[in-house]
């Protein structure tokens, strides 16, 4: 789901479409460090390089989701 948001962010800012992996590559350098680490983990889990375990990280995850949502919204508002 975070990767879907990252994809939407990429799409909204560049008007292009990307894979989840590509969108994460693009998004990570633009994020504050704490968010970037989490997105990188999500990507690694998606690629099967890492078994994801989000227990205890709900708060950070919610804050990353919120950050992505806030980044997307101004790009797609009327």
């Amino acid at each position: 789901m975070i990767l879907t948001l990252a994809k939407m962010w990429y799409n909204a800012s560049t008007t292009k479409f990307s894979s989840k992996n590509g969108a994460a590559d693009w998004a990570i350098p633009q994020l504050p460090e704490v968010h970037a680490g989490l997105l990188d983990q999500a990507r690694k889990a998606y690629l099967g390089e890492f078994v994801d375990n989000w227990v205890g990280k709900e708060k950070e995850l919610a804050s990353l989701d919120d950050h992505l949502k806030r980044s997307i919204e101004p790009l797609i508002s009327i």
Partner: protein, 273 residues
């Protein structure tokens, strides 16, 4: 009906079955919309004395009625684009055609000058909306023939101005002013018929549905905002594995629809996290 199997450069592969919205139908719709765009003004002008015989119209009222077309065009022509970001182009034009139809028919049944003026504003407002909406519609459906279709549309506007003037007097003599002015609503009705309605997803399958399908949960036809995103990706980043090429099956999905789809699907996405 066309079928195609599409793999995008993301992780998606899906099978699309779609009825291609025929450009010919859109062209017919544009022609009939264009034929509506002046008849409501010119049809009553030539037979004003006959209308005056049914209910009194003062000279002041006549002056005001003369001012209604530019006023309604300006007002509704300005309002129509405000509807586009949220509702696209198709719903507002259907609304506009409905206004033209109701306005013309209602006006021909008027019992006093107030009713006549009010319903004139309704049909003229619909025309004002069409004036503003048709050029982007032409651009959307005929990006490569914008000039040609625009000239068809502009010349038909003049047909719509001239023909009612020509026929108003003989028609009125034959069947009275009410039928004479009201009959032009038939063009609005015809224009609605071929108009493109927003597409629906009838059926989608993909590997991510496997578990669901095996349990016998087959998705039903639905309006899905996400569909525009999926199809836009298919249009822009895909390789056809078998069947027709994407551009033969799908209409171009403009950026404004993609933005709208993102707006519509973001809340659901956030809620599912």
């Amino acid at each position: 009906m066309c079928e195609t199997e599409i793999g995008t450069d993301t992780d998606q592969r899906f099978h699309v079955t779609t009825v291609k919205q025929s450009r010919l139908l859109v062209l017919i719709a544009i022609i009939f919309v264009s034929l509506n765009l002046r008849s409501a003004l010119t049809a009553p002008a030539a037979i004003f004395d006959q209308i005056k015989a049914s209910f009194p119209i003062s000279d002041t009222a006549r002056g005001i009625i003369g001012m209604l077309p530019p006023m309604s065009f300006a007002l509704f022509g300005w309002l129509a684009p405000l509807l586009v970001p949220k509702h696209g182009l198709d719903k507002p034009i259907l609304l506009a055609l409905g206004m033209i139809f109701l306005g013309i028919v209602g006006r021909s049944l008027s019992i006093n000058v107030w009713m006549y003026s009010l319903l004139s504003i309704v049909c003229l407002g619909g025309i004002g909306m069409c004036n503003a909406l048709l050029p982007p519609i032409i651009k959307q459906h005929f990006p490569n023939r914008f000039g040609l279709v625009t000239s068809i549309y502009t010349s038909l506007i003049y047909v719509s101005a001239g023909l009612p003037s020509l026929l108003a007097v003989p028609l009125t003599q034959a069947v009275g002013w009410r039928v004479s002015t009201g009959s032009w609503a038939v063009f609005a009705l015809i224009a609605v018929v071929p108009w493109h309605f927003p597409p629906r997803i009838e059926f989608m399958c993909g590997k991510w549905f496997r578990a669901q399908f095996e349990k016998g949960e087959i998705p039903v036809a639905t309006d899905d905002p996400d569909l525009a995103l999926l199809l836009a990706q298919a249009e822009r980043n895909s390789i056809t594995l078998s069947g027709s090429k994407v551009e033969e099956v799908l209409d171009h999905i403009p950026w404004i629809d993609i933005q709208r789809a993102m707006r519509d699907s973001l809340p659901g996405l956030m809620a599912s996290i």
